[in-house]
Symmetry: C2
Subunit: 164 residues, 2 copies
Amino acid sequence: MTLIRQFEINDWPGVWPMLEPVFRAGETYAVPTDITEDDAYRFWVQAPQATFVALDDDGHYLGTYFMKTNHPGPGSHVCNCGYIVAESARGQGLAGELCRHSLDVARERGYRAMQYNLVVASNTAAIRVWNKHGFHIAGTLPGAFQHPREGDVDAHVMFRTLVP
Amino acid sequence: MTLIRQFEINDWPGVWPMLEPVFRAGETYAVPTDITEDDAYRFWVQAPQATFVALDDDGHYLGTYFMKTNHPGPGSHVCNCGYIVAESARGQGLAGELCRHSLDVARERGYRAMQYNLVVASNTAAIRVWNKHGFHIAGTLPGAFQHPREGDVDAHVMFRTLVP
């Protein structure tokens, strides 16, 4: 069984080892590959409105996601999330579980839509999961992501409404 | 003749009166309509990489724009700009002048693309100007902007590359 709950300060030593390899790889997140741990904490925990962690029965960290308001003022009914699954927990559907959880949380918090701003087009596994959970590709930004091996690759803006 | 030059600290008393009515109206910018002058300064001057002002021969403020990196790390070759034309200077092509200026500055600074994240679909005059200057609608975000009279209206993501 997977428990998904709100991040607590003591979780950071379990969360950072999930984030660091993803940020260092520079293949999926628009985050500097040399980001410091402090800046990563600000980005993942302090700047967002909320952060969540997923744990297995033994308390091992399986994944994490953040939720933030995508734009203030007249854009503040749209939220944005970012998800990371621990390397050891991939291929078991956890990204989908985190996504479903975040959709419920977003509705509870009164958001009316969710937007992913920069989904790297080569990240087809992620796109398949987001599609399955109701997101569509609202647009494609040509060459908007500098992939470490593939050069400037396209990125998608993905979107779904949360109201009927 | 219009002079466009980099913002200097003494310009703020001339810039804020151009921004305030636009932010208060809440029809085009995803900025809280009750934003304070201090927060507006942070948003328009401190957070961006650069801010510019346009002046007429008599030193009157005609418009202003900011330029910032849209996403860090692997997204940092794409910049974002926001433009505001003083009410008294509208309808004279200044938005286009500011846009052209910003495209030159962006190229000088090594950006390879420019992106507008949230162009309110009902703002057809702006869309026409951005189209004329090489931007295309990369995607449309359904209901992503809370218009004060029209409710949730669509917003476009607009994009143009800066390299051949």
